[in-house]
Symmetry: C2
Subunit: 298 residues, 2 copies
Amino acid sequence: MDWGTELWDQCDIIDKHTQSGLDLVDKYVKFVKERTEIEQNYAKQLRNLTKKYSPKRGSKEEQECRFSNHQAFLDILNEMNDYAGQRELIAENMMINICIELTKYLQELKQERKTHLLEAKKAQQSLEGTFKQLDNSKKRFEREWREAEKAAQHAEKTDQDLNATKADVEKAKQQAHMRTHIAEECKNDYALQLQKYNKEQNQFYFTEMPLIFNRLQDMDERRIKMLAQGYILFADTERHVMPIIGKCLEGISRAGTNVNERNDSLVLIEQHKSGFERPGDVEFEDYSQGINRASSDS
Amino acid sequence: MDWGTELWDQCDIIDKHTQSGLDLVDKYVKFVKERTEIEQNYAKQLRNLTKKYSPKRGSKEEQECRFSNHQAFLDILNEMNDYAGQRELIAENMMINICIELTKYLQELKQERKTHLLEAKKAQQSLEGTFKQLDNSKKRFEREWREAEKAAQHAEKTDQDLNATKADVEKAKQQAHMRTHIAEECKNDYALQLQKYNKEQNQFYFTEMPLIFNRLQDMDERRIKMLAQGYILFADTERHVMPIIGKCLEGISRAGTNVNERNDSLVLIEQHKSGFERPGDVEFEDYSQGINRASSDS
C-alpha cells in the first residue's frame, strides 16, 4: 500500500497533504519558539527577584548572616538564581535542538517537495504533449481517409460515366490510388503515435508518477519522524534539567533545616554580652557619721 | 546561656534584634508573594500559548487529527495546559501555606513582642521611680543632718555665750534636740527606702528583666523555627507537584513516540483513494475499416 499505487489519481491531495505537513512543522517551530520566550522571561523575572532581595555588599543585612535564619534566606536566593539558570538552559536547548534544527530541515524538505512536484508537472505536460500529437495524427488519418474515400467514389463515378474519356478515368484512378496511399501512410503514423502514447502513458501511470508519489510519501514520512523527534525533545530538554532543579529544591530544604534557633540566640550573646556583673546593692551613705565625726573633730 | 542572664544590660540590642527578626519574616513573605506572582504570570503565558495553538472546533486543523503527527501536537498542547495548572498550584499553595500563614503568625509575634517590651519599660520606670524616692529620701536626710548640725552648733555657741539667758540656752538645746530627732527619722526613712530600692533592684536584674528577656528569646526562637518551616515549604510546595509535572513530560514524550509515519501515510490512502483502475491503453480507431465497410456495403 503506497501513494504511488493507491493514490495514482490524487496528485492534488498529495500536493495539499504534504504542504499541510510542512505547515505543521512550521507551526510547531513557532510554538516552541514562543515557549522559549516565555521560559526566558520567567527566568529573567526569577533572576530579578533574587537580585532584588540579595543584600548589598557591606550592608546591615549582610552582617546579619551570622544568624542562621538570615543566612538561610541568602542560601535560598542563591538556589533560586541557579534555578533560573536551569530555566534559561531549557530555553536555549529548545531553541538550538528543536527550533534551529527543524527550521533547517524544513527548508530542505520544502526544496525537495518543490522538486518532486515539478517533476510530476513535467511528466504530466510531456504526456499531454504526446496525447496532442496522437490526436493530431488521428485527425489527419481520419481526414485523409475521407479524402481517399471521395477520390475512390470520384474514380468509380468517372469509370461509369459514358461521357468520360479514358484519360479522365485513368487520371481519377491514379488520384484515388494516390489518396489511398497517403491515407495508409497517415494510418501507419497514427498507429505509431498510438503505440508511442500508450507506452508513455503506461510509463507515466505505472512508473514515473508512482515513483514521484512514493518519493513524496517517503519525504512526508521522514518529516513526520523528524517532527516526532522534535516532540520528544520538547519533553527531554526539560527532563534533562529536572535533577539539577531537584538539587536546587534540596538546597532550599537544606537551608531551612540548617536553621538553628538555639545557636542564633547564642550568636547574639557572643556578639553583645558586656561581661559586666549586674549591679549589687546600693550602699548606705551615712551623712550623720561624717557630721558626727566633723563635730567631734572640731 | 540565655539572654536574661548574659544580655541583662543589652535591652536595646534585644529590642533591635527581635525587630530585625520580624523584619526578616516580613521580607520573606514579600519575597514568596512576588515569586507566586511570577509563577502565576508564567502559568498564564503557558495557558495562552496552548490556547493560541489549539485548533478551533470544526476547523481544518481539527480534521487533520486523524494523522498521528497532528494528533500528537494537540496532545502536547493538552499536557502543556496541565503543566500550567501545576504551576498555578505551586503559586496557590505558596500563597496559602507560606504567605498567609506567616503573615498571621507575624501579627501575633509583633503583638507579643510589644507586650514584652512594654513590661520591660514598666519595670524600668518602676525601678527609676523607686530610685527617685530613694534619692529624695537620701537628700532630705542629708539636709536635715545639716540643719541638726547647725542647731547643735548654735546650742553650743549659746551655751558658751556669757550674754545668753538660761532661757535662751534651754531653747537652743531643745531646738537642737528636735532637729536631731527629725534627722534621725529621716535617716531611718532613707534606710527603709534603700532597703526597698535594693530589694526592687535585685528583683529587677535577677528576676523581672531576665524573665522578659528570656521570653523575648523564646519568642525569637519560635519565630526562627516558623520561618525555617516556611523556608522548607518553599521547596516542598514545588517538589510536591514534581511527579505530576514529570507525568506531563512523560505525556509529551508518549505523544512523540505514538507518532506513526507509516500509518499516517495509510490514513491518507484510506481517506482519498478513488478505487479506480489506472487508464489502460488507448485503442486504435480504424476509420479506414468503417470506410471500407461503408464502401463495400454500397
